[in-house]
Symmetry: C3
Subunit: 138 residues, 3 copies
């Protein structure tokens, strides 16, 4: 069994931002030499997500509006912010969008449907953040 471990670093300029990381993850799959296996991609921060959906700017704005309705930023709403933080909302938004994805690797590539793209979803940006990519297989 082969395994391959790598970390990607992102610095989102906005509080909420979605970054397409499909190309970088595919490069790591190539580096790994794994032909058949699984690829885990997860946010290493608890106010961020990794998710798979469409690379369409209108949809991304829809997601931002929807997440803001489901978990508004307003810092006064969250007990968590009494610790001195102002990112209580980000911990909630991340739960909706998820922490991680697991993608099949088949014949050395991410085995994707027609529109699947991997995104890093930042909900408390303006600091460098890390994403883990772990590939195992043969």
């Amino acid at each position: 069994m082969k395994s391959h471990t790598s970390y990607l670093t992102f610095h989102a300029r906005n509080r909420m931002e979605f970054i397409n990381i499909t190309g970088e993850v595919q490069e790591k799959v190539q580096d790994s030499g794994v032909r058949e296996g699984l690829c885990l991609v997860n946010a290493m921060h608890i106010t961020a997500s990794v998710f798979i959906n469409d690379d369409e700017p209108g949809l991304h704005q829809d997601y931002k509006d929807w997440l803001e309705r489901l978990a508004p930023h307003d810092p006064s709403r969250y007990r968590h912010n009494r610790t001195g933080e102002d990112n209580g909302d980000a911990h909630h938004k991340r739960q909706i969008m998820g922490r991680e994805v697991v993608v099949a690797v088949t014949e050395g590539k991410l085995d994707f449907g027609p529109w699947e793209q991997i995104f890093y979803g930042e909900f408390d940006g303006r600091r460098p953040k890390r994403v883990m990519v772990k590939i195992i297989g043969e």
Copy 2:
């Protein structure tokens, strides 16, 4: 290490529909010959989910009503639909229910709790859609 790759195809008659795929996934586990490992099951379309819950029709109707409240179908609500689509809501419902499940394989079987069943969740049906099943282990 063994790996086994397969694709299931579904054609939901309704826009929103949940299909129990546990038996088909279990067959793929048997086909794989894997006794100990992991089984990834994911929607290959970004308006669909794979999730694990109860096979109880009342609960499924509850889920449909709840998802419709959280992300109503009304096409005018979504920027995404300006691209000519009418499925903006389906991209949101899928994020709530999730893209994938990873299930342990133990002694050649899906290692499930008492009520766990795997469902394909369609939110933009009436076209053929694919689910990926990837099994790795020994």
Copy 3:
């Protein structure tokens, strides 16, 4: 390839409760002897979650309040409860928080970002419940 299977049992005293299980999962990783691989942790019950976030009591209370708004307990709201259950809400809360996490194992340890902690999230407690831990790798 090595594989290691174990089950943790919890008995939450309250209907809704979050239990930090990071230490117990890390012990299973050590028991497994796996240095590089993947660790699946999932609820075996369909009214419970396993999720990764911060171990901060204010945040946990925020989550409980938020989940109660998104899917109120009131048994009369759910068709599922016509089967004699009163836990329809728990099946919904679990979908928001997720069934499982997959964590990378690197150099024999859970490969975590600075604040990541694994929680068992109970939404229909007061009965013993099980969590599965499956580790594969080398």
